[in-house]
Symmetry: C2
Subunit: 412 residues, 2 copies
């Protein structure tokens, strides 16, 4: 059964055949994949999903890959949803959950979208995979291209964190370090579409790529016992994944995977150092997202000109969510708070998410019994440099390997 019918413009509804393109020729709106919903309704069920693999591919029916397409996988997804009682106690939340998506093959949620994108691209004859990246995407693209045996070009800002550069280079892709910020990298890649026969994961094959994000929400709701939470806190970069989480909830309801139909509040998190979506949300014209020049340690979400920003604000307002932002100090404090209370080490983007969670909780947004989920989307080792000063932390002593030295230096 071919379940994929084509592409459709989110704005004007114009329809296109399945192909590597992402912008409507009529109105320049973004294109989304169209599924044969009637056919899917006959096969999709909780039981079928639960019998699938312990990866995001248990949701294969709802992803843009036909049944006979071999997928490029490293076992991404189905990451733990942990109940966060100690962090919850500090924030007055008795039903707080963390979806720890740093536990993916390349330690960020990007493995989900890249696994789908490269599976689609390989099945459609592409021999070179490319991307414009703030770091995590390049890491995933380089790894999955290696796994698939495909040629790879990654475009990154020249000043990327050293740990990220190593974790990309090890897979031996072609690395193009661009003297500019992410938005400039992205613009260059968009210009290259015409002259290269490449699959740029987050540009020309974006409609397929983006669909992978849905699995983060599918899994979360499955792990909650097929129950919708009250609110989800999601980091905002381009806004692409935010839009897909809304779509994922729609599909869970449409396919009868959840009984409830009360859509959770979807809340966005940004760093104040790069907060174009937040700025618009707080203004009188939330759909007028003006570009900014990023200046934040949360580089993996530092997109100054977010393609889906307008949809983020539309969805946040529709669902009763908000968009909130935090300072650089609040980001680092939240990284430490999460580590100290729950044993999870997240990168700066995770600090943004937890920082916004903490800020909203302390401002009295919740009564205490709401089911709140925060998406922790990348690992702390990727941005370890921002915490290097922790090395000199107060609870460290240096001793000789003797009992005497221990007793002199350690007070217990």
């Amino acid at each position: 059964m071919a379940k994929l019918l084509g592409l459709r413009c989110r704005e004007c509804g114009a329809e296109y055949e399945l192909q590597a393109t992402h912008v409507c020729e009529m109105c320049f709106g973004p294109l989304d994949v169209v599924y044969d919903q009637a056919a899917l309704r006959k096969v999709v069920s909780r039981q079928r999903i639960e019998q699938g693999p312990a990866s995001m591919w248990r949701y294969r029916d709802l992803l843009p890959v036909e049944d006979d397409t071999p997928v490029v996988t490293l076992g991404e997804g189905f990451t733990p949803l942990v109940k966060a009682d100690r962090l919850g106690a500090e924030l007055g939340l008795r039903n707080l959950y963390l979806k720890n998506d740093s536990m993916n093959p390349t330690n960020s949620f990007k493995d989900r979208v890249v696994s789908v994108a490269i599976s689609w691209a390989r099945a459609h004859g592409f021999e070179t995979i490319a991307c414009a990246s703030t770091g995590n995407l390049a890491n995933a693209v380089a790894a999955y291209s290696a796994r698939a045996g495909l040629e790879c070009f990654v475009f990154i800002p020249v000043d990327l964190e050293p740990a990220k550069v190593v974790s990309i280079s090890v897979f031996d892709p072609n690395v193009v370090a661009v003297r500019g910020n992410y938005d400039e990298v992205n613009r260059l890649c968009s210009q290259l579409l015409e002259s290269t026969p490449w699959a740029f994961c987050n540009i020309n094959i974006r409609p397929f790529y983006a669909e992978g994000s849905k699995t983060l929400t599918f899994e979360t709701i499955e792990q909650l016992g097929w129950k919708l939470p009250d609110e989800i806190i999601i980091p905002i970069a381009s806004g692409c994944q935010f839009v897909r989480h809304r779509q994922a909830i729609r599909e869970l309801i449409d396919y009868g995977l959840v009984r409830d139909d009360r859509v959770p509040a979807l809340t966005g998190a940004q760093a104040l150092g790069c907060a174009p979506v937040y700025n618009a949300f707080k203004s009188d014209t939330p759909e007028r997202v003006l570009p900014v020049k990023p200046n934040t340690i949360a580089r993996s979400i530092a997109i100054g000109n977010p393609s889906d920003g307008i949809y983020v604000n539309r969805i946040a307002l529709e669902t009763g969510g908000v968009v909130e932002a935090v300072t650089e100090d609040e980001i680092v404090a939240a990284m430490r708070l999460l580590a100290r209370t729950e044993g999870i080490f997240t990168e700066t983007a995770g600090g943004v998410t937890i920082g916004v969670l903490a800020k909203l909780a302390r401002a009295g947004r919740w009564k205490g019994d709401e089911v709140v989920v925060a998406y922790v989307t990348g690992h702390g080792l990727k941005t370890a440099d921002v915490l290097a000063s922790v090395d000199g932390h107060a609870r460290r002593v240096e001793i000789e390997p003797t009992l005497k030295s221990f007793r002199e230096k350690v007070n217990i």
Copy 2:
């Protein structure tokens, strides 16, 4: 049902009550946990395991934690077993599998043993968790102590890799940096047992801690469709996990979880820079493991005086395995080989495992159809410093954010 009967000396068989102790008072042999096998035989089944959580706790029945004990978990284990066709093609192996245990909460297999150890310790009233560590163990102990809300002391060599220090410190444990190597750190901790009421994961509560290792093999065999492979390649530090993998296979057979009873060859991997077990294996007296002074980039397995070394060689010989070792250059080459062919970025210890796999394959150890599994036990970001030079790799160019600059600098 209480399934734990006590502790028993591996050497003389002396029996002890369940308690925080690891050495036989009679003969100084190591103590192992004794289970009520008759009772377990009535409950353990494939179906019961398959219905369990997507973590190592699906094997809870076979772990030293009673049914009513709340466990300290971050969703560790049930990591992907990936078929490695591209690496296999380079090595002439058509059925090569990699168990990617770097996909654990703190990015190494240590999360398995620590989750068990701290669950046991908390249930038995310990308020402070401690360990002697080469880095990965301290990382896991600090994280799980934070998750459990317990006091924590980690003892590490003072020259630990910077990334590991940050990834430990972020959890805010008490860090004792010892001016010495791991063996000196370990000796100091053993001396501290008498004067502190602490649970040292890998010392006094080692019998419980060690049991967590079994899950790596349980899962691998489950993921192979409940079939035993022909050979497993395992990194050797203290030898502790090697012994448990042998025990895991015994239990899989005893409890009828596999039909076959042909024990796989268990093969050990060491760095030549710290190869006491390998040295003994190659000698005429494989049970005479002499201590060495470690000097290798594979610091996470650099134990010069391995407590279970003698058992490693006994098991390797019994099962038809070998113990092999690789040079520093071979370690780095193997890290790159694995990344380039399969998209998996492992730490130096994983380079040792894959290096030994490659060395044995190239020496003609296998015909090609054997089912071979390699345990990749830690993530490359933890030892990114050894690959820092990759940054300057040949396939990197730096350009301005313009099409003109791209065309001048990139040949495609």
